[in-house]
């Protein structure tokens, strides 16, 4: 079975519209959360969000080509391909595994508006192109078409664990020989329709996102995309490609508990981490860092802490765990991919991204959360293997095991 390595990365995020600016802002302790400008936030629990700023679609395509969420995905894929130095011949048979929660949310709202105004059963005045731009597969189809990528492609949707799930599925495609190179990750754009639902579910904090803090009261949602180039070890060697890290294993599962309420014991998160370690053939004792899902909600952070403690046992207090969501916001399907990029950089640079807004320790959340300031880890403390966790509404969980090469 083929080993799978990461040879390129690209992103569009509230912290920056490429990977170098994303990582630099992350370890500088900056936050991309600010008042949302493109949406009327009246009636939402919080007017702030992780909005992408400074993104110029005209560098990539024409106005009206695709929904903003697909634009983010395309731009991230473009950067990842350039970063991996992939040539057209390499791309021709590459696979694409994209993921999204809300697809083209902004296009959806326009389509609904047109249908309401039309009023006819056939929806004759509904813009067919706009409907296509709403569909989940639009980003992957657009990317394949415009970058002439002819390998297998799919879009998956597994709520906020989608990004990690997509990277894991692409890893399996490479292991099973479906392709030798794959681009995988997640994308989502901020839309009022999705924010309205997430707000009424009371997942959004009325003030700020404080992962693992005693006074945490919800998350802040945002937008973006993260795309990673995965490649078989053989292919990377043949191309003499720069290798960032290895995807040692992964797992995805479901709590099978409740549609919206989390499993408070963290049984699903525990199972997904142990499943990923088993898939990787790695012992829990080898884990040196965990990039947590860490949404800043009461239940998620407690459940994840309990699950990590069960997985790591007595070592739990010594293994740094951080959540980047207070910096990036919760970028939904993009989150798992952006966090995989952050985890990869933590491994190759030996710098652990901080958990921002951490002020008041919670007696029940008692791990080392790398509070507020990035940490350089050296010598024996420098992690060689790390986990990246994701969870989502519907009870989904995903975990990636990444290692230095």
């Amino acid at each position: 079975m083929q080993r799978v390595v990461i040879t390129g990365m690209g992103c569009v995020s509230p912290l920056g519209v490429d990977v170098p600016s994303f990582w630099a802002a992350l370890i500088a302790g900056k936050s991309g959360i600010a008042p949302i400008e493109k949406i009327d936030t009246t009636g939402l629990r919080n007017a702030n969000g992780g909005e992408v700023r400074g993104f110029d679609w005209s560098l990539y395509g024409d106005e009206g080509d695709c929904d903003e969420a697909s634009q983010f995905a395309f731009a991230a894929a473009y950067e990842a391909i350039a970063d991996a130095h992939l040539l057209p011949a390499d791309l021709n048979s590459a696979g694409l595994v994209f993921s999204t929660n809300f697809a083209g949310a902004a296009s959806w709202e326009f389509v609904c508006e047109q249908a309401r105004e039309d009023g006819s059963e056939a929806g004759t005045s509904v813009d067919a192109e706009l409907f296509q731009q709403f569909t989940p597969e639009h980003a992957v189809d657009y990317t394949a078409q415009h970058l002439e990528i002819s390998g297998p492609r799919v879009t998956l949707t597994n709520a906020c664990s989608s990004g990690g799930n997509a990277i894991g599925l692409a890893c399996d495609w490479l292991r099973l020989g479906r392709c030798n190179i794959a681009l995988a990750g997640g994308h989502d754009g901020l839309g009022l329709s999705s924010l309205a639902g997430l707000s009424i579910l009371r997942t959004i904090s009325p003030d700020e996102c404080r992962p693992f803090d005693a006074n945490r009261n919800g998350t802040i949602f945002g937008e973006g995309a993260g795309i990673i180039v995965l490649e078989t070890w053989e292919s990377a060697q043949r191309r003499n490609a720069k290798v960032y890290a290895e995807v040692l294993g992964w797992a995805v599962n479901n709590n099978a508990y409740h549609l919206t309420a989390p499993d408070k014991e963290g049984a699903g998160l525990h199972a997904v981490m142990t499943g990923a370690l088993r898939d990787a053939g790695v012992a829990a004792d080898d884990i040196g860092y965990i990039n947590a899902h860490g949404t800043g909600t009461q239940y998620n952070d407690l459940a994840e802490t309990q699950a990590i403690k069960r997985v790591l046992g007595e070592r739990a207090a010594q293994v740094p765990v951080s959540s980047i969501k207070a910096a990036t916001s919760h970028t939904m399907a993009a989150a798992g991919a952006l966090e995989a990029i952050a985890t990869t950089y933590a491994l190759i640079e030996g710098v652990l991204p901080p958990t921002l807004n951490y002020q008041a320790p919670d007696p029940e959340c008692d791990l080392d959360y790398v509070p507020n300031i990035a940490r350089r880890s050296e010598g024996d403390a420098r992690p060689r293997i790390a986990l990246s966790n994701s969870s989502g509404i519907g009870g989904n969980n995903a975990c990636l095991v990444l290692g230095v090469v």
């Binding site: 249908a115 067919a128 989940p136 599925l169 099973l176 639902g197 797992a251 599962n253 479901n254």
Partner: protein
């Protein structure tokens, strides 16, 4: 850093099937229920004919998914919940599902009401039932499917991609058994919006097509009834021939018989291949 490169790939078998279509129900082991419905929809569909538990609210896509899963699991001789608290990871069963537009009906009702009343008064129940992955989450909860779990949205290929993922998950040891397939419902919103798009050249159809896959070892251990080995060739054939206008079923195309079943289309194609493998003279 090296990894466990010597892993043995598991052999995968198909041990159950549950197909709910406008032309009737079909399973691998049970009798086929045919009807004389010449439409592409299921006007008489009732979830209680497949599942006894009561539901407060369900999108039609979710209801069809629950029914198809129940039919497939029963056909495979599996009772639920499949995983209890003592299950180890190796014993966990999972689910993968393909759909093109999923719970688009609830998605639109939610947003129309929120637009009308204001976002502060948006309905949380409708929102939680409007996700693309709501049907699969409800199936996981209903049947205790705590293992591998993914929804695919890939147009007409959605269903076969879900089956491919399940197949790979078993081969690689992520799961011992998987329920997988495709589902699409005909609803007022899909009927309004999808005709405007490319797929709309065909009359809309609905179907819920699920399969139970498991490792040969798992099937043997539980003495599963007649099962057939499922390899990538069969999946490739089903994927290649699911093209709505090209697939021939006794001189009748798949779309002539079932309409545009969206994300369930390629799963329907696989069901047809399974029927061919079994040399059956059923409704398919």
């Amino acid at each position: 850093m090296s990894t466990n490169m010597t892993r043995e790939l598991q052999t995968v078998v198909l041990s159950g099937m549950g197909c709910i279509t406008a032309r009737g129900d079909l399973t691998l082991h049970g009798e086929t229920k045919q009807n004389d419905n010449h439409a592409f929809t299921l006007p008489d569909f009732k979830l209680e004919n497949y599942l006894t538990s009561q539901k407060t609210y369900l999108d039609r896509c979710s209801a069809l998914a629950l029914a198809g899963c129940a039919l497939a699991l029963r056909d495979a001789g599996l009772s639920w919940p499949l995983n209890d608290e003592t299950s180890t990871h190796e014993q966990l069963c999972g689910i993968s599902l393909g759909t093109h537009v999923g719970c688009i009906e609830t998605m639109k009702v939610f947003w129309d009401k929120a637009t009308e009343r204001g976002t502060r008064l948006a309905n949380p129940l409708l929102f939680s039932h409007s996700y693309f992955n709501t049907p699969i989450s409800l199936c996981a909860i209903e049947f205790g499917l705590k293992g591998y779990h993914t929804t695919f949205c890939a147009g007409t290929q959605s269903g076969i991609e879900a089956v491919r993922a399940a197949h790979g998950a078993i081969q690689l040891g992520h799961a011992q058994a998987m329920v997988c397939g495709g589902v699409e419902a005909v609803t007022p919103t899909r009927a309004t919006l999808e005709p405007a798009a490319a797929l709309g050249a065909l009359a809309l159809g609905e179907a819920s097509i699920f399969f139970v896959l498991e490792s040969a070892r798992h099937a043997e251990q539980r003495n599963a009834a007649n099962h057939i080995q499922l390899d990538n060739r069969v999946l490739d054939d089903a994927a290649n021939e699911c093209s709505l206008n090209e697939h021939s079923l006794n001189d009748e195309s798949l779309s002539d018989r079932y309409g545009n079943c969206g994300g369930a289309t390629s799963a329907l194609s696989l069901a047809h291949f399974v029927q061919q493998l079994l040399s059956s003279n059923s409704a398919f």
